[in-house]
Symmetry: D2
């Protein structure tokens, strides 16, 4: 009999759904000695919460996260609520000895992140941040090629994360567009992912210089709708309010290994639904990834014969690619939610084998450190060094 681990999930919107499905699917594709039990889902509003519990298969629901975190029968606390709640829940969960899976970005700022890391370390629990793109097979395989020396010395990391869902000036001022709930805008939401990929694939950032901008500064206040509605269908009313987070943030960076990087995040790129893309150029080869074609990795090998050199479009669905053999035969794509399944599978394994999973709160803290440095630079107009 596999060991059962009871999960409490805080949050029941987009990420709540993605995480719920991961718990439900993981054992089908990644059978192991550990099996998650979908014990309780937690949120503020009872009606939609109850719906979510029914729809997704949670045994119970609960409106107080404080109670949930304290329950003896909970092994894993999964935090998928807005950023401004992360610190309190994570610290409490750690103190209660729970393993923690935490949505990104980690916190409202670096100080919070550091506190959370300290709490988790002190409690000696497993901790993981859901930078889920690490577990796209193409990205995990990119890391493997780098580790094997196929890319050589890395010169450039070029990344962008472009979306287009708030181009309409009438799109309402939802919580993601307010500093008090979201901490930051495109920067914390999207550059956080790019920074994680940069740290995963290249190294630590040592210096940044950045720029932020708002294209639309005032928006209609959102009209209260049913809670399970998605962000994209939110509607606005007649009253307006100030947008208090940046619409776009870009920055230049240096890495500890001598590479340089460019990063850009925006929600104002019409035609780019979820364009999370990076390019890596090294002395022996190059890599390109674009999440909109998540089952592909482009790879250029400078070792290929003269005349036959070119970027290879690798369909990352072969047996040789990470995670993939658990799913389907070559040429059969996987999708977005699979990255969460992979992360949950790895978390369960880490708990079972008592190893350190990644990305963890240390990664989350370093990420937050870089995020904060960029915002300071954008404000001052000058380079900011990141200490280590």
């Amino acid at each position: 009999m596999p060991r059962e681990l009871n999960v409490a999930l805080i949050g029941y919107k987009f990420m709540g759904k993605a995480h719920s499905h991961a718990y439900r699917d993981v054992d089908f594709f990644f059978p192991s000695d550990c099996r998650p039990v979908m014990k309780v889902i937690c949120g503020r509003n009872q009606a939609p919460l109850q719906d979510a519990a029914d729809a997704w298969g949670w045994q119970e629901y609960e409106t107080s996260w404080e109670k949930v975190v304290e329950r003896d029968d909970i092994d894993i606390v999964d935090i998928a609520s807005p950023q401004n709640t992360h610190r309190d829940i994570a610290v409490a969960a750690a103190k209660a000895g729970k393993h923690i899976l935490l949505e990104k970005p980690m916190a409202m700022n670096e100080a919070e992140a550091r506190e959370m890391l300290a709490a988790a370390r002190e409690a000696n629990v497993k901790h993981m941040v859901v930078f889920n793109y690490r577990r796209v097979p193409a990205v995990a395989y990119a890391r493997r090629l780098i580790d094997e020396g196929k890319i050589g010395r890395i010169f450039h990391f070029r990344a962008c994360y472009l979306q287009d869902w708030i181009v309409d000036e009438q799109f309402p001022l939802i919580w993601k567009l307010r500093k008090e709930t979201a901490g930051s805008g495109a920067h914390g939401d999207l550059n956080a992912h790019l920074i994680d990929l940069a740290r995963f694939l290249v190294g630590e950032l040592t210096e940044v210089v950045g720029q932020t901008h708002n294209f639309v500064t005032e928006r209609p206040l959102p009209v209260e709708t049913g809670e399970l509605s998605t962000m994209l269908t939110a509607a606005g009313g007649a009253e307006t309010g100030q947008v208090t987070v940046e619409d776009t943030a870009s920055f230049l960076a240096r890495f500890d290994n001598g590479a340089v990087g460019t990063f850009e995040a925006t929600r104002f790129a019409p035609g780019r639904r979820n364009h999370n893309r990076f390019e890596i150029y090294g002395s022996k080869g190059s890599l390109v990834f674009d999440f909109e074609r998540m089952n592909e990795l482009e790879y250029y090998s400078a070792d290929d014969e003269a005349g036959s050199q070119g970027f290879r479009t690798i369909l990352t669905t072969d047996e040789a690619h990470p995670y993939v053999s658990a799913w389907w035969p070559p040429g059969h794509a996987i999708g977005y939610e699979h990255t969460f399944v992979h992360q949950v599978a790895d978390l369960l394994q880490a708990i079972h084998e008592d190893t350190e999973p990644h990305p963890n709160f240390h990664d989350g803290w370093k990420n937050q450190q870089a995020l904060d440095a960029v915002l300071r630079s954008a404000e001052s107009g000058a380079r900011v060094t990141i200490s280590h």
Copy 2:
């Protein structure tokens, strides 16, 4: 309380896994008034069958399909076993009054298919064939554009289904390479899908002329391995046998609406893992789909302004695209298994609302008719007319 429908699944390999997952996932993403219950999985060999039942969540397992089909508590019989078993199981299931979900190709030949269709109609049960590519959102959306007149009069349907898994001459003579178990080779396996897409998107085929070929005529006999191993890792021994199905089959066709078509299937196209691709050219626009980029549809509108005409790469993950809003926000890909979830969702709905689902046994029979006609033409070297 949703109505519960008990499912019996016959077959526990690649398709068994895909179907099992669909039953497990469907209610999470497509909640409805009907809920499938994974009652019993059925196969010949007890040990792997038991493993499959455990792994995928079936309540029971059973080695006799005859018994399963007769059980009073079964509502749906899902047939995912090799082609040479389809007729007997389907006819028995129909006679027992079960709704039927059947893997493609429908049968060993047109006569069998006709018999199955007659049985299902007589029993007045719901019947569906798993030509799952109809339910890729991009394909379903292509159909919608055609229905809306956006493509105009269709001139050309150009399709190919290219794979590369048996290029190695040492790849063993598994059941898919033997006429007695598989009926035919690349033709029945792959052209069957293309024919279904052609019928779904263009119309009925009226005339075909074809050509088949074998590049490797003798292969090592397979060594018995554990039953849950995938096709692709099969190993061969020292003894060899004759390949009795075609490696490739191509044909030219005419449609009842005046369009012409080209079709080609092969398992000898290195680099093409699962390249199910079609192009449609019509008087008002054109469409291109490639399953290796299943979240995209290329669309050319002849109505676009001069100078700004070009194939649009549509990321078919918007709210406007069929099935997709049940999953994730725009820009978040879905994968192969989702097509099965869609098909099961539609089957449940058809049962619940007592409507005719598609593709059904009529579609399967017309498909088989075309498949057979091509093989006859390839043998005789002359055009074959398909009667209606």
Copy 3:
């Protein structure tokens, strides 16, 4: 001092322009011991002919090809007039001892082509047919990879040549749409190119089975316009006439080396301006070329490491690629007219070194043989063997 070779060009429309430019440009990029002199351009109508001579730099013009062919000072006769004139001019030119550059397709039928070949051989002159796509660097490089064994045993040749310039039913009945002037339609115009590429890259065709179709059978007769107007801007009047050549032609083929092929040509593919594309699949690798991206070749090597396999997009502008180093540094594209420059450069070299250039009248004849066989098959509905 380089040797000067006097050229007489018959024809002054699209191909006349392309050939003229090639003579003018060749020495700049491919300096050699031979230099073409643009002596005389020849056509039926004096006014536009005189304009063409002025615009393109011909020293003289002449309305009688018979006179031109007989002139003692002419070394090369370049035939770029409609197909129905090819035989007479070529035979006369050969008898007069002139080297011949001839536009494709070679003739109105195989008998004519055989006669032309005999005449050229008897006269012992150099003869070349302008299947210019052989000299796209990407195509010439594809041939090199095949010759080096990089593709291994070839299984499949899949080719199509798709255009869209006559989709409009009001497009007039120009000479290219009439059998008496053009011989055939999309087939002779476009499949002729594909057959040449097939013979260049794969081998001789031994058997074909084909299908042709007309989507529009009647069109307005063209209104007389200035002679230098291009095909695409032709206008039609109130009177109509019968289209006497096929709009589309497709066929299946077998090659002498065991490969199989599919070919398709059409002028009814909206969005495809000049989509001359082929795919080659072999035991060791695969190749894809599309003239709409003529500076690229896709190459898949089955020898690449597991996990890192994928089609490479080779930008064929490196020093290693045929013809290219004469032009610009890597990454700087060349265009359509360059293929004619390459062909003229090779013709001059063949004349100077007294070697046999390719593709020559033998190639043109084999090409015409295959073209004719397909049309016979399309009529009879049965396979046609091509003798050798």
Copy 4:
């Protein structure tokens, strides 16, 4: 009779060849009332200069640019020599009343550029800088779409110019890698083009913050080889020297119209032979261009119907596209050198009609201003404002 304009070309290497060919070809494709006469080519070393004159068709050659600039029979001075010679030649040419075509980047620094602009204005001659990418049909068409309001308010300009020709540490220290001859490295060579495209398509830059880096700081000194050898085949000896220009330069920018931009140039991107790419995102649509596919423009229209939105790949070879109808029918690509033909055609027209061509010395000066500002910022680590 067309008016003849005598040209003197200073420089006989890569750009000398490109410009020479443009003069030779322009009248064939763009016949007008002005015809350039290739009068004299000028350089320092007589032997290779004489070869170049012969090969490219210049009537004379001359080793003193001072003499050439003073000649009464010269109408146009074309300056294609290294940057450190631009100022002196241009000022002298202007004073001598010659029209000037000048290679980019304009000068060694902004002060020189301003001096040149003043001289040209004072002399009332035509002046043009060869930012040739403006005249790629796709780019000229992008500008047209912007002018027509199809892109709406521009939010983002994202550009990079990536090459890979000096990744090898043994590549020698040629003049382009030395500050005294080249002024700067990847920045002046490549970002100059991006800045010109930004100014052409978006607007004036008002603020920049940049970063530069060297990956290889010391290289072998070049061995003297024949002068007509290309950069890429240069060889190095045993002695080494310091690289004094940057290998890569990136910067963030703000535009006067509220758009923001990112720019990156490098010569250390393996696999990118000449990857000059930009993306523009606006309220109504988006555009993507990549010079490695110079015959294409990607265009996203936010006005397209929901569900059918996607980037269109426009093959910019239709009649509707700038410059293209002078060449070949739709679907027939043009190449790199065609951009120079277009620029010369426009220069001749501007001279003939006495209009102001673009980009001119004012554009060159604004370009140099931005280039200098970025380098100052990279040094100081702080934002630099660009005055207007």
